[in-house]
């Protein structure tokens, strides 16, 4: 029989996690990973992309990243799409972000500050999105 996790138990887990994190890394959350979760993104597997970011960030104990969701970014042909915003680089949209791509984005872009060239998408031109 599985042990059902209640909201109280969840609160306790959160406090334990907070204590653990505050010992290790008080850094500000200065990096944003924004995942396109419109109909097109969901149909192309954006939910798995969302899960992959959570799993990898957790496994690597990276604590200065916020994971956000947004709707369609206008790049339906390259879903799942992910925008990465860091304080020292221009905002970049990556396309076709599967689990392998998540690994690359985290290890190269977020940790090393290097663009993942083969995944970069151009933003849609204004005359096209009109």
């Amino acid at each position: 029989m599985s042990k059902k996790l209640t909201l109280d138990a969840l609160r306790q887990l959160r406090e334990d996690k907070q204590k653990e994190l505050s010992k290790r890394d008080p850094a500000n959350k200065d990096i944003q990973v924004i995942i396109g979760m419109g109909t097109c993104g969901i149909a192309a597997g954006a939910k798995n992309t969302f899960a992959a970011f959570l799993d990898i960030l957790d496994a690597k104990n990276i604590t200065n990243v916020l994971v956000r969701q947004t709707g369609c970014m206008g790049l339906c042909h390259s879903e799942p799409t992910v925008e990465v915003i860091t304080h020292d680089m221009p905002p970049v949209i990556y396309g076709n972000v599967n689990k392998e791509a998540c690994e690359k984005i985290i290890s190269q872009h977020i940790l090393e500050g290097k663009l993942v060239d083969d995944l970069i998408c151009d933003r849609p031109a204004i005359d096209i999105i009109r």
């Binding site: 029989m1 996790l5 969840l10 609160r11 887990l13 097109c40 597997g45 939910k47 994971v67 369609c72």
Partner: protein, 182 residues
Amino acid sequence: MHASIADVIVDIVQNSIEANATHVELTIVTNPDRLMVTVKDNGKGMDATQLKRAFDPFYSEPGKHDKRRVGLGLPLLIQMVEQTGGQTDITSTPNLGTTVSFWCDQHHPDIPPLGDLPLALVSLMAYPSNCEISLARFNGNNSYDVTKSELVEALGSLEEPANLTLSRRFFKSQEESLYEEQ
């Protein structure tokens, strides 16, 4: 077509959030024969003409998306339900809100899998908006319910990976408990 029913649910709830709802009630009921979902919001609603157009995949409400003109959410839902012997019911009143409900026959060979419902629920609860989401989930005689504000009160920001991971554990354990002996 979406790969799972969980994906369809995410899509429909996002419609409610994008319709400026401040409260969405999501009810998911499963039993061996049927899967029933209701999404009720207090968003801006639609009149009869707008409701009819919402079923057209080549129509998206002006201003909803600045980058495209098609809207596939409701058409994909209707396609899935029609192809699997179920039924969809959509009612809407301007300025009062919209209720989308559907049921599917669990025995139909073409019914998509339920999918990763815990992850879908985390995604919904964490979707950026001030909209309260109340989930009521039933499987046979077992059930649980939770609101977005309860999760935020317990965990804090639902944009932090650690909190999202804990939310996922929460929903996973609640879902597993639904399928324990009744």
